[in-house]
């Protein structure tokens, strides 16, 4: 990845663009009956990832975020624009491998790889005035230091690794308040009641749209496929907030019509899958893609690139800046089911709740090899799901496309076993 390389090849012939194109083509072309409203998102990814178009962004300072725990409302409120840096490209994963040990998380490596190319890294958002790096897992913490070495202004947002205690809550609230002070210094704009209120209203509208989409996935038969929803939530990483919300609202309207018409986006009797674990980020949507290619349908997820990022909403009792900031802090800590915390009871409960609400037949648990915390939680989550009688497929993988054939076989077998179970259960139910 030298400047010469960039000059000689047109952008869309680069490795990153080809990787994205292959994935997007599969996501679009291998399925019939894609919602018309999804065209916005397909087009967005084509332009950003394949054609390398720079995003139209306000001239305001750009603030990069490496985790969902960063209160983006504060960034909007002081007039800056947030962008999520978590990257899903195998191309950047390989570049980032220079920084991290061989067996470490693809997502962290890809993010570092993308940041290597300050100008042309995809998605292209222009110069980053600040990167906010919450101290979550070890790999991200260390990556933060490396970003500093690359020359970025990094704010290390101190994040507790226990969330139950009051001490952690207070610590985190202070950390967020400090962050707000840093942001005000960055933009020179004061954090006022009105600005924060408006910022919160904007994200609330986006979250409301997401929740509507999320709830539509409870429909049986399914009105939308999981691969499309992952694209939608991935777009939230870098898209303009209002444009994204408009597009989601249009999609929701279309899906409602589908639901009313009794439309089925998947195959008849497609096993309903709950997706959890390491976050799928475009172009690494291989696991959701494989599930849906094999005849399953991802009806819900418990990942930080989708549900965990947008589902939970803050509440404010008194609309004064102090309380709004504290409320935001609580909202980014308390419901978080990230595996970096000591206990994972909340995550298990959340999974069971999603299984119940979305009538999921099985769970697919993705762990990026090297992501220790997800790997370590596999045991306890598997146990809880097993006790509840829900089959789980644990998949340890990375961004490399090499294992797709092998994974496809495992997934087909898993889905087949679910179908068999359902048939048997239906038969025994019929007899009874």
């Amino acid at each position: 990845m030298t400047p010469a390389n960039v000059d000689t090849l047109p952008f869309n012939r680069g490795r990153q663009a080809r990787e994205a194109e292959v994935m997007l083509d599969k996501l679009v072309d291998e399925f019939t009956d894609n919602p018309a409203a999804m065209a916005y998102f397909y087009d967005l990814f084509r332009r950003v990832y394949i054609q390398g178009e720079a995003l139209e962004r306000p001239a305001a300072p750009q603030v990069g975020m490496t985790c969902i725990q960063v209160p983006e409302e504060l960034i909007y409120a002081v007039g800056a624009t947030p962008v999520r840096l978590c990257n899903g490209a195998y191309h950047y994963d390989q570049i980032g491998a220079d920084f991290m040990p061989a067996k470490s998380c693809s997502l962290v490596k890809a993010t570092l790889g993308r940041l290597q190319d300050q100008e042309m890294g995809v998605p292209r958002v222009g110069k980053l005035d600040m990167i906010v790096n919450p101290s979550t897992c070890d790999q991200k913490k260390k990556a933060g230091a490396m970003m500093e070495e690359m020359g970025y202004a990094v704010h290390h947002l101190e994040f507790p690794n226990v969330k139950e205690s009051e001490a952690a809550r207070i610590y985190w609230q202070r950390s967020v308040r400090d962050f707000a002070v840093q942001l005000q210094k960055l933009t020179g704009k004061r954090l006022t009641r009105k600005r924060l209120n408006q910022a919160m209203a904007r994200t609330r509208r986006a979250q409301t749209a997401f929740r509507a989409l999320h709830n539509l996935r409870k429909q049986a038969p399914s009105v939308v496929l999981g691969k499309d929803v992952f694209l939608v939530t991935n777009a939230y990483f870098f898209d303009d907030l209002e444009r994204w919300t408009d597009a989601v609202e249009a999609l929701v309207a279309e899906l409602k019509e589908r639901a009313a018409a009794g439309f089925n986006a998947a195959q008849r009797k497609a096993p309903r899958i709950l997706f959890t674990g390491s976050p799928p980020v475009f172009p690494n949507l291989k696991l959701p893609l494989l599930i849906e290619e094999a005849g399953g349908v991802v009806v819900a997820d418990e990942t930080c690139s989708a549900n965990r990022m947008l589902y939970d909403m803050p509440v404010v009792d008194e609309w004064l800046v102090n309380h709004m900031v504290d409320s935001l802090a609580d909202h980014y800590l308390k419901p978080c089911t990230c595996p970096i915390f000591t206990r994972n009871d909340d995550r298990c409960r959340r999974l069971l709740d999603l299984v119940r609400d979305f009538e999921a037949d099985g769970v697919v648990y993705q762990a990026y090899s090297g992501c220790q915390v997800y790997e370590m939680e596999q045991r306890s989550v598997g146990k809880v799901l097993n006790e509840a009688g829900i089959p789980m497929l644990y998949v340890e993988t990375d961004y490399s496309p090499d294992d797709m054939g092998q994974l496809s076989t495992r997934i087909e077998a898993f889905l087949e076993s679910i179908k068999t179970r359902k048939r048997q259960r239906a038969a025994s139910g019929g007899q009874a």
Binding site: E164, E166, I170, R193, K194, N197, Q198, M200, A201, R204, T208, R211, N215, D312, M313, P314, V315, V316, D317, E318, W319, L320, N322, H323, D326, S327, D330, H331, K334, P335, D346, R349, R350, L352, D353, R356
Partner: protein, 329 residues
């Protein structure tokens, strides 16, 4: 039809509903006496008996303390019947609304909510006790309740003089402040006639001053120490109005705890208990209104679900709440 009603109820703007409900209750209990409303003297909240002109009924703690200070032979004789009937009436009133009496009816509670809105308008942030202080202070109301029984009994037994009569009423800020609403300043005094009255009225006035600042800066400051609240909790099991939690649906997001005037942590953290009303709860139902998880929190009356958390209601209230305050700015 029922589902539409159900939806309308669940979407209610609780803040506004409560404001008007409380205002109406305040007018009823503080000025109802002028309209010859008389609901007896066993009301399970601070409809202060010292507000002689306007009260529409009397807080049960006043007659209770008077009854308990009867001479023991009487108390354990025929007067015991009076104590029991008084308590039975109190109990019957109480079980209807449970602690909803605190969150919706109590004039002193309403007054605190008004002080809170005044502070909000002035843009002053509130204070919280924090977890440690909460755990330390949560016993105070039970101690006050015990004293409220023991002191009158000691009077009846001749161990204390009658000057210590109705000890809780003497230190209750309601006695000093509520009669002021009917332009009755008679309680704003220090009574020098004996040591007992001097101590009690002095404390009463001091606490009244403390109350005004406390309630201004801390939401529902006094309810935390209220012996009525303690008494409620002890007999709340058979109450009809219940606050229920479904731990399976809870994401532990802490929204309910965040809005709780009483800083009750259990509402967010306790996943086991179905009947989630704790000793400090005032059943103001703000937690239900702040919960985005359908059915995670709900209110039942005689086991009939009358109000529950819904996503739609939550969003509606949040947008409205933000709108209200944006206008104010």
């Amino acid at each position: 039809m029922t589902s539409r009603l159900r939806r309308a109820v669940d979407n209610v703007d609780l803040q506004r509903f409560r404001f008007w409900f409380q205002a109406a209750a305040f007018v009823l209990f503080v000025y109802g006496g002028y309209l010859a409303v008389d609901l007896g003297n066993s009301l399970p909240m601070f409809s202060c008996g010292y507000n002689q002109e306007g009260r529409a009924g009397v807080c049960y703690l006043l007659p209770l303390q008077h009854q308990l200070s009867r001479p023991w032979p009487q108390l354990f004789g025929w007067a015991g019947i009076g104590v029991l009937t008084g308590f039975a009436t109190f109990f019957l009133w109480f079980i209807v609304l449970n602690k909803g009496w605190c969150g919706f009816m109590c004039p002193l509670g309403t007054l605190q909510d008004w002080l809170t809105s005044l502070r909000k308008r002035l843009g002053i942030r509130y204070s919280l006790y924090g977890e440690q202080a909460f755990n330390r202070l949560t016993w105070v109301k039970f101690v006050l309740l015990a004293l409220m029984f023991l002191i009158p009994l000691a009077i009846g037994g001749g161990l204390l003089s009658h000057d210590w009569g109705a000890p809780f009423c003497q230190i209750c800020p309601g006695r000093v402040i509520l009669p002021l609403f009917t332009a009755d300043p008679l309680q704003l005094t220090i009574d020098y006639s004996s040591i007992g009255t001097l101590v009690l009225t002095g404390l009463g006035m001091f606490i009244a001053g403390l109350f005004l600042v406390g309630a201004f800066i801390k939401k529902r400051f006094f309810c935390f120490f209220c012996p009525m609240s303690a008494l409620h909790y002890l007999i709340s099991k058979p109450a009809l109005l219940k606050l229920k939690k479904d731990g399976d649906k809870c994401t532990k997001c802490g929204n309910c705890f965040n809005v709780c005037d009483m800083e009750i942590r259990a509402i967010a953290d306790d996943l086991e208990r179905k009947d989630i009303m704790t000793d400090d709860c005032t059943l103001c139902l703000k937690c239900v209104a702040a919960c985005p998880e359908p059915g995670a929190l709900k209110v039942e009356f005689a086991r009939i679900n009358i109000f529950q958390a819904t996503e739609e209601g939550f969003l509606k209230r949040m947008n409205k709440g933000a709108g209200h305050d944006a206008c104010k700015r």
